[in-house]
Amino acid sequence: MKEDDLDRVLSGEIDIAPSPGFVRGVMAAVHRQTSASSPIPFPWMRALPGLAAGLFALAAMIVAVLKSAGRPESSPAQSWWMFALANAAEIAKKYGIDWIVLATLITAACLVVSMRLVNGRRALQ
């Protein structure tokens, strides 16, 4: 087959005509979308104090770990990192960080599942 023949077949396609109600359907969907309530924005202003407190707590923990790692009193064979990790684990245990991490993970999982459900419903509409 010559190149021209393939060109002729593929470029000689007859266009299809839109159905009569197409424009009306699109405009109805546009109006539906416009009248639908806009999604609730994330409350950054309200979340800000919580985020700041979280960051402060994280920074305080890092400082505490670094301070305690700075004066190694156990065996000198232990590396600085091992010492820092052990201290971090101790502090985490003291403040119940494991439960906080678990709660955070559960919250994140709930958030992801609900977002997927909402997006799935939107795609079906």
């Binding site: 087959m1 010559k2 190149e3 023949d5 393939l6 060109d7 002729r8 077949v9 593929l10 470029s11 000689g12 396609e13 266009d15 299809i16 005509a17 839109p18 159905s19 197409f22 424009v23 359907g25 699109v26 405009m27 969907a29 546009v30 109006h31 979308q33 416009t34």
Partner: protein, 187 residues
């Protein structure tokens, strides 16, 4: 002129006149539905895909940077949507080998029409690997304009040329009988 009319209508829509969007839909419904049809080969699905493309265009009108033509922006948006839609639910296709060796090839040779052969070749394009299929579809939709096809696909013109060559090679190698027949009859 279409470009000026597009610009004026977009400005009206952005200023809050939703009805002006209808002019855009009327102007571009044909091309968008036909592009969707070439991706899906299903009329109803093509209209659904085109409607979704218009909705996305409506939502994203503010993102059209006016340095490029509205049609370029609209086709790129629609192409992206159609590609992901076809990836999500691929159209029913025959493999290239099935098309290459039709079960009743003698009957086709004697009684088959140009139309049915052309349809088989067009369906064969759907059986190509994704990147060649998309490139061939866009290239012929844009009336063999490589620049337009490259813009719609968001790739370099050289990439379009390379994919076109490879796509055509695959078609020629998989459909020799069908295409030879067509070639002889049209001479």
């Amino acid at each position: 002129m279409s470009a000026d009319a597009d610009r004026a209508d977009v400005e009206k829509v952005l200023a809050g006149d939703i009805a002006a969007f209808e002019n855009i839909v009327r102007r571009w419904q044909g091309p968008l539905i036909n592009l969707a049809y070439r991706f899906s080969r299903d009329r109803n699905r093509a209209e659904d895909m085109a409607q979704e493309a218009f909705l996305r265009a409506y939502r994203g009108l503010g993102g059209w940077r006016k340095d490029a033509a509205f049609s370029t922006w609209l086709f790129a948006l629609a192409t992206n949507l159609y590609r992901s839609e076809i990836r999500r639910i691929p159209p029913r296709t025959m493999s290239l080998d099935e098309i290459a060796e039709p079960p009743d090839s003698h009957a086709r040779a004697d009684g088959g029409t140009d139309e049915s052969r052309d349809l088989a070749v067009r369906r064969a394009v759907l059986g190509l690997p994704e990147k060649y299929r998309e490139t061939l579809t866009l290239f012929y939709f844009h009336e063999k304009d490589i620049t337009q096809a490259a813009r719609s696909l968001g790739v370099a013109e050289g990439t379009v040329k390379a994919r076109l060559n490879r796509g055509r090679e695959i078609l020629r190698s998989k459909l020799p009988r069908l295409l030879d027949l067509h070639s002889k009859e049209t001479r």
